[in-house]
C-alpha cells in the first residue's frame, strides 16, 4: 500500500524541483538566446525560440560600444577594492576574534550596520567631496566607496574564521616569544585562507554588481559595466540583442563566482543574521 503512494509523491517532488529550477534559470536562458539574435529576429512578434544564432551583438558591444573598456574598469575596481578590504579587514578581524578590549561589541555592531545604510545616502556627499579632491570619474573614488560594503563583509566572515582556529597554536607561539603580528601573519592568516577566499569572492560579486555609486561618481573614464548597460536604454530604438549581450557579459563572471561560493552567498548577504 505504502510503496505506490511514496513513488507518486517522489515524482511530484521531482516535478516541483524541476519547476523551481526552471523558475530560477529561465530568465538567464532568455537573456543568452536574445543576445544571439539579430535585431530583426529579436523584434519578431511573437518571439521566436528557434533561430540562427549570431555573435554580431558581442562583437559590436565589445569593440564599437566600449563595453570592453567598461568591463576592464569593473575588473580594476572590483579587484582593487577586494584586495584593499582584505588587507585592512583581516587584521581587524583577527583583533576582534582574539583580543579583549572595551567597546568591542559596539565596534562590531558599527561594522555590521554598514549593511543597512543605503548608498543613496552617501552618494551625493561623496560626489561633492570627490569633485573638490579631483577624484571624480576615477577608479580610486569607486574603490574607496566600495569599502563601505566590502570591508564589513571581510571583517565579518574572517572574524568567524579566526575564532574557529584553536588557541593552542598561538599560545605555543607566544611562549616561543613570537609577536602578535607574527602569530597573525605566519600562523593564523594561512589557516584562515578559506574565510579569506569566501569573503574575497563575495566582495568581488557585490562590487561588480554595484550601480548607484558607479552611475553618480564615474560618468565617463571610469564607467563600470552595469552603468554602461544603463546607457543603452536611452534613446528610442532599444537594441535588445546588444543589451542582452552586454548583460550576459556582465552576469556570467558573477554567476561563476556565485556558484563557486554558493554555500556562503546567503551567509554573506545576511551578514551574520544567519549562520
Amino acid at each position: 500500500m505504502a510503496a505506490p503512494i511514496q513513488r507518486r509523491s517522489l515524482w511530484g517532488e521531482a516535478f516541483l524541483l524541476l519547476l523551481i529550477g526552471l523558475f530560477c534559470v529561465f530568465p538567464f536562458y532568455w537573456m543568452v538566446t536574445t543576445s544571439l539574435k539579430t535585431q530583426v529576429v529579436a523584434l519578431e512578434s511573437p518571439p521566436v525560440w528557434w533561430f540562427t544564432p549570431t555573435l554580431a551583438n558581442y562583437r559590436e558591444v565589445l569593440f564599437v560600444d566600449k563595453v570592453g573598456p567598461a568591463l576592464i574598469n569593473s575588473v580594476i575596481v572590483a579587484v582593487c577594492t577586494t584586495a584593499l578590504a582584505v588587507g585592512l579587514g583581516t587584521p581587524a578581524a583577527y583583533a576582534l576574534a582574539r583580543f579583549e578590549f572595551r567597546g568591542k561589541t559596539d565596534l562590531w555592531f558599527w561594522f555590521i550596520t554598514n549593511r543597512f545604510v543605503s548608498p543613496v545616502v552617501l552618494a551625493f556627499p561623496v560626489f561633492l567631496i570627490s569633485r573638490e579632491l579631483g577624484l571624480r570619474d576615477t577608479h580610486l573614488a569607486l574603490i574607496l566607496m566600495y569599502l563601505t560594503f566590502t570591508l564589513p563583509i571581510v571583517i565579518w566572515i574572517c572574524t568567524d574564521q579566526f575564532r574557529s582556529i584553536p588557541h593552542e597554536l598561538d599560545e605555543a607561539a607566544l611562549l616561543e616569544g613570537a609577536s602578535q603580528w607574527r602569530i597573525f601573519r605566519s600562523i593564523c592568516l594561512p589557516l584562515a585562507m578559506p574565510g579569506v577566499a569566501v569573503s574575497s569572492i563575495l566582495s568581488f560579486i557585490f562590487s561588480w554588481n554595484e550601480l548607484l555609486f558607479a552611475y553618480i561618481l564615474a560618468p565617463k573614464a571610469a564607467k563600470t559595466a552595469p552603468a554602461m548597460a544603463v546607457t543603452f536604454m536611452e534613446g528610442y530604438d532599444v537594441p535588445y540583442g546588444k543589451i542582452m549581450a552586454t548583460s550576459t557579459l556582465i552576469v556570467v563572471p558573477v554567476l561563476i563566482f556565485a556558484l563557486l561560493a554558493s554555500r556562503h552567498l546567503v551567509r554573506g548577504l545576511t551578514m551574520g543574521a544567519v549562520k
Binding site: 538567464f28 587584521p91 583580543f99 551625493f124 570591508l151 548583460s247
Partner: protein, 292 residues
C-alpha cells in the same frame, strides 16, 4: 578565551580598518547632515545658504516623498509575504530527505537570481515583459490571456516590479529558511513525525519556533533592501510611467542627480536612514521578546 594585549597592539590591528570605514562611511554621512541644513542646488551654487531645518520641514510635508514611501511600503507588503510563503514551500521541499542530486542542482539554481547584477535584472524585465516582443506575454497568450502592457501602464509597471522582486528574492528567502530548518534537532523532528502524520502540525509546533530567528532576519534584511531598492526599477522603468515605480531611493536619486537639489536629497536620505534604523529596532524588539 581571548588575549590581553597592550592597547598599542590593538590599535595597530584595528586602526587602519576603523579609519578607512570612518572616512568612507561616516565623513560623507556628516557632510550629508551638514548639506541638509542648506539650500544647495548645483545649478544655483551662488544662492547657497544656511536654512536650518527648512529642508526637513519641506520633506516631511511633501506629498511626493510620502507617496514614494507609501509605494515602497506597498511593494514590501505585497512582495515579502509572497516571498516568505513560496520560500517556505521551497525550503520544506528541499529539507525532505531523498532525491539528493536533484536537490543539490536546485539549490545551485536558487543561488543564481540573488547574485545577478540588479541592474541586469531590470534590463531583463524590459526585454521579457515587452508587450509585443516579450516572452512573458507570449506565454500568457498560450493560456489565453491577452498581452499586457507591463512597462507602459502605471499599475502594471508596479505589478511588474513586484513580480520581478519576487523572482529575485524568493530563492534568498528559501535558502535562509532552509538554513533555519536545519537548526531543528533531527531527534525532535523524527519524534514529532512518529507522533503525527500531519506535516502542518510538525511545521507549526516543532519547526516554526526554530524558524523565528530566520524570519526576523528576512524581515529586517528585506526592509533594508526594499528601502535601498534602486537598480532594478531604475533600469526597468526609470521610476515611471509618471511616478508609478518611483520608490524612495529612486526619488532621492532623481532629486539629487536629475534636479541637482542636493540639500533636499540629503534631508530626504537622512529621514530615510532614520526610518530604516527605527524599523530594524522595532522588529528586533517585537519578535525576539517572543523567543526569550
Amino acid at each position: 578565551m581571548s588575549f590581553r594585549v597592550p592597547r598599542r597592539t590593538i590599535a595597530a590591528f584595528l586602526g587602519p580598518a576603523v579609519a578607512a570605514l570612518a572616512i568612507v562611511g561616516i565623513v560623507p554621512l556628516l557632510y550629508a547632515v551638514w548639506k541638509s541644513l542648506h539650500y544647495f542646488n548645483l545649478t544655483k551654487i551662488a544662492q547657497q545658504r544656511f536654512v536650518g531645518l527648512d529642508n526637513y520641514g519641506a520633506v516631511l510635508t511633501d506629498p511626493v516623498f510620502w507617496q514614494a514611501m507609501g509605494r515602497t511600503a506597498l511593494l514590501f507588503a505585497i512582495a515579502v509575504p509572497v516571498q516568505i510563503a513560496l520560500g517556505l514551500v521551497i525550503a520544506l521541499v528541499l529539507h525532505r530527505p531523498g532525491l539528493s542530486f536533484g536537490k543539490t542542482l536546485t539549490r545551485l539554481s536558487l543561488v543564481l537570481p540573488m547574485a545577478t547584477t540588479y541592474a541586469v535584472v531590470g534590463l531583463l524585465a524590459q526585454v521579457m515583459l515587452n508587450q509585443k516582443y516579450g516572452v512573458i506575454n507570449q506565454m500568457l497568450g498560450w493560456v489565453g490571456i491577452d498581452a499586457i502592457n507591463f512597462i507602459g501602464d502605471p499599475t502594471n509597471a508596479f505589478i511588474a516590479v513586484v513580480l520581478w522582486d519576487i523572482w529575485q528574492w524568493t530563492p534568498f528567502v528559501a535558502l535562509v529558511l532552509l538554513a533555519g530548518l536545519s537548526t531543528v534537532p533531527p531527534e525532535i523532528e523524527e519524534a514529532a513525525k512518529l507522533e503525527t502524520r500531519s506535516n502542518w502540525t510538525v511545521l507549526r509546533h516543532v519547526q516554526l519556533p526554530f524558524l523565528i530567528p530566520s524570519l526576523v532576519a528576512v524581515l529586517i534584511l528585506r526592509t533594508a533592501d526594499t528601502l535601498k531598492l534602486f537598480d532594478m526599477p531604475f533600469t526597468m522603468t526609470r521610476g515611471g510611467p509618471g511616478s508609478a515605480t518611483e520608490f524612495i531611493a529612486v526619488l532621492i536619486e532623481r532629486v539629487g542627480n536629475r534636479q541637482f537639489d542636493i540639500g533636499m536629497a540629503a534631508a530626504q536620505s537622512i529621514i530615510m536612514l532614520a526610518i530604516t534604523i527605527i524599523l530594524a529596532r522595532l522588529y528586533i524588539r517585537l519578535f525576539y521578546r517572543e523567543v526569550r
